[in-house]
Every structure is written in C-alpha cells, then in structure tokens.
Symmetry: C2
Subunit: 300 residues, 2 copies
C-alpha cells in the first residue's frame, strides 16, 4: 500500500523507467520529454539503449532490471505481454532497501493475465494495468514518434489493490501523451478488444494467406486490399503473445466471424439478393456506428 | 468492325459520353477536363446532371441514352455492373443513322458477364472491358476528384472482336487519367480480383457484423479496426452487383479464407505456438510480397 510520502507523487517530478524501447515504449518515453524529471530506459537489445539516448527518447539507460527499478518512481512495462508477465514475477523478487512504493503500469494489449500477476506483486509496488489503443506496423525505437498516442483511447484497468494514487498517475500519463484515459475492467477490456483488434488482425492474416496462393494477385492489390490487410504486418512476438493470452475471447470472436462469413456465402450461393442487400446495408450502418461519423474515408 | 474513317480516332478530338455520374464516373469525367473535345453526362438521378455541370465534371448533359449515344465517339459505362449489362443490351437495340462505329468501355468491377454482353453488341460498336483499381467509400458526383485514378492499375479486358483502335483508346483513357493500363483476360481478372477486392470487402463486412454484436465495442475501435473494416462502407448497389456477377470465384475465395481461419483457430485453441508463429511470419512476408516494399504504413 502507498505510504504517506507517496501521496506526493506527481508525474512532473517523477523518474520514469521504461522497460522495452520498441515503437510503443520508445514513443511513450519520447512523448514524455520535458514533462517528467527523467526518463530511464531498458531493452533486451543492446543497440536500442544507445539509439534511444541519441534520439532523446530517454535521458538515461539502466544496466539491468534492478538498476532501473531502484532509480524509478514509475515503471512502465512496454514489452510483449508474456515478457510483461515474466518481468512482473521478477519485480516481486527484487530486494529494495528504500521504503518507496513504486507505481507499475503496463501497456500490453491483453489485461486479465497481467492483472492476475499484478495482484501477486506484493506491497512494494502500486500496480495498474494500461492499454493505449494505438500503434503502427513498424518496429523499433528508430520509429519512435511523440505523437503516436495522441487522441488514442488509453484503457486503465485497476488491479485489486490499485491505489487512487496509481489510478491518478495512469490518467496523468495518458493525458501527458495526448491520449484519453478510459477505466475498464480487465475482463471487459479483453472481451471487447478481441473483436476490435485481435479479430481484425486474424482477418487480415487469413486474407494475405488466401491471396498469396493466387499467382499474380499482387497485380490487382489496390489500396482496399492494402488497408484491409495492414494488420498482418504487425509485430510477430507482440501478436503471438496477445493471441495466446486472450484465447477464450478470441476463439469466440473467430467463431462468430466464421458464422457471419458462412451466412454471406450462403446468400451469394443461393443468389438471395434481398438478404445479401440487407446484410450489406446493415454492415454500412454498423461500421458507421462503430467508427463514428467523423472518420474521413481515404482513397483506395 | 471499325470502318476506315474510324482509325482516325483520338481521345483529344473525341466526344466522350459518360453513363453514371457517381464517384467513379464523375471523377473520370472530371479528370478528362481539357483533354477531350467534350464530355457528355447521363445519370438516372435528375440531380446529378446539374451538379456535374456546376462542378465542371461534364460539359453537357444528355437527355436520355439515345441522345448520349448519338453525340458520343467514346461511351463510358460507369454504373453498377448489372446496370452496365442492361445498358449494353439497350445499346444493341438503338437505331443509329450515321455510320460511325462507337467505342464502348465500361469500368465495372467484374468482367466476364460484361464481356459476354459486349460480344453480343453487334458491329455498330467497338467494345472493350475496363476496371480501374481505385475508389473511395463515398458516393455521388459531389465527391468527384480528378486525381482518383492517379497511379491506379487500369485493367483492360478485350472482347472477342475488340479492335486495336478500341484497345489503344482504352490505354489512352487510362493514361490521360494518370492510371497504368494492364491487359488481362476477363476470367483471369475475375479470379484475381475475387481475392484482392471482393474477399477483403466480405472480410470487412463480417468484421463489423461481429463487432456490432458486442455492446460498447465502439469504445475500443482504433485505427486498426477502422482500416480493416473500411470496405464495409462501400456502395451497396455496386457491391451487390459485384457479388452476384462473380459468384464462383468469390465462393472459392471465401472457402479458402474460412479454411485459413479454421487453421488459425486450431493453433490458438491447442496453444501450438510454433505453428502460430510460423503462420504470423508467413503472413508478414506474404503481405510484403502482395503490397510491395514501398507502401508506407500508417498510424493505427
């Protein structure tokens, strides 16, 4: 639990340790430049740290996990989900001599498994789950951009012993990045995101798997194909971890998706024009509702 | 067959009649401004003609089909596919008093049915099938933009009695719009486009159908969802006609697609990490091959 002196936590005076200097962690750290006391980075790739320093993504690089933890008031876990889980287990084993209770937030794309591990962190940490709904299909700190989080929804999922202090820090972190904080229980997050992010990825994956089998298909791949398949270029490790830590919700979404595809195929096979048109009209309406009226539609 | 005087055909001195002043026909006509002798428009919506005149999309509006045909050297069919089929049947019935052989090109998204109808057009017309691989999910002449066709692949599918003159006109039309002409047999076009355009549309449709059933899903719909689902907002009449005139190839593509989805689901269900990662890696590689190395990846 947060001790008395911890209630004085402010992002502006905090040392922020970021574990994982990829596109997401790097962009987060870059977006905090000048907004926190200092930014400390750590990455398993020995080339990431020097590049992050060179690009002003971080102010300092930590030597190892304990070094980063000792120097940080707020720890951001920005690796693939299963590395986040392993790091949380490491954190609970570290012997810390000071009496500071460190805030820990992750930015992983599934929340239930992470929150379970956060609940087991012990009282030396004040954890909160996070998931910013943004990204790009490029990898590495060299693509870090401070505006990546701008206007994104930043989900905050409290653990069972998340303090008001950690929740406020999560909100402030989101705001400093230009994102919009949204509190959501882990189970709800994982169910919704299975349909809005994990299923789109799998739909894109199966699409490229299908098209690549057709010789010369590339000749006729226009911007419609490019956009629909974009997520298939996502980071492999990140996606594998997501798929394996949100299996139940994803399998349910895939089942529903396949059922809709079968209904569509049936109406085409049977030339059921009325039903086909009803589905198409409903699809247009549904997308409008899901995306919002403001979305400008690009050229394809 | 083309008579002697017809070999003198040039786009620059041609009167071009455009049937269907929607986004596609309107943008085509607008892109020809100043590049042909005159542009004549016709649309079933009485409001489209006046708006097209006001926006300099066309120079003149025809009263009806016969009026447009009489005044045109080149006729562009830019309506949904089944309306193109009906218009081709109308064309063959028209009694024309001059001895001009008019070039007819369509820009419909499926080619086999249209080419069959073009073959039955008779010797008063010199037909060629066309399909520019571009578009947007907005409708109507008010969205017409001269650059819509720029850098798009413009498929040209010869009918059995397409003359070199019509083929050259098709190529020239594409070039004047900034597009890249590509000759492709109708059957090949329809097979390829089923995977690169019609399947992506159906993948997007089933995606919004699935997501809309999850209350509050819109909360977590980011740009990944927006792009993957974009085609679900396509023009309803246009898509219904496409689906119903390319049924065989589309059903085959859907079958392959569903098989890939089932293989993905199986590897997630069984936590077969090695196979899952192999599919993800292959998906990234396949997309790169289908899209080309130059495609810049957007923010999601």
């Amino acid at each position: 639990m947060a001790s008395e002196n911890d209630s004085s936590f402010t992002m502006e005076t905090a040392s922020v340790g970021v574990i994982g200097l990829g596109l997401m962690g790097g962009s987060l750290a870059l977006g905090l430049a000048g907004k926190v006391r200092r930014r400390i980075g750590l990455d398993s790739d020995p080339k990431a740290g020097p590049l992050a320093l060179e690009k002003n993504v971080v102010d300092e690089v930590a030597l190892h996990l304990v070094d980063l933890v000792v120097r940080s008031d707020l720890i951001v876990l920005a690796t693939p989900v299963r590395t986040i889980l392993a790091t949380l287990r490491e954190l609970s084993k570290i012997q810390i001599s000071d009496d500071k209770v460190r805030i820990v937030i992750d930015i992983g794309s599934t929340k239930a498994d992470i929150l379970k591990e956060m609940d087991a962190l012990g009282d030396r940490y004040d954890p909160i789950g996070g998931h910013p709904i943004c990204g790009r299909e490029v990898q590495g700190v060299r693509f870090a951009e401070p505006a990546l989080y701008k206007n994104a929804t930043f989900v905050l999922s409290p653990a069972s012993h998340t303090s008001p202090r950690a929740l406020a820090a999560g909100r402030r972190l989101a705001e400093l990045l230009g994102a919009h904080p949204l509190e959501l229980a882990a189970a709800d997050h994982d169910r919704l995101i299975a349909s809005t992010s994990h299923l789109p990825f799998l739909a894109a994956l199966a699409l490229v798997q299908t098209a690549i089998k057709i010789p010369s298909a590339a000749t006729l791949a226009g911007s419609g194909f490019r956009d629909t398949s974009r997520l298939a270029s996502s980071n492999l490790e990140m996606m594998a971890d997501i798929l394996l830590t949100n299996r139940g919700h994803i399998l349910q979404a895939l089942e529903d998706y396949t059922r809709h595809l079968e209904e569509i195929a049936k109406s085409i096979r049977e030339e059921d024009e009325a039903h086909l048109k009803a589905m198409l009209a409903e699809g247009r309406r549904a997308r409008q509702e899901l995306i919002g009226p403001s979305a400008p539609e690009g050229k394809r």
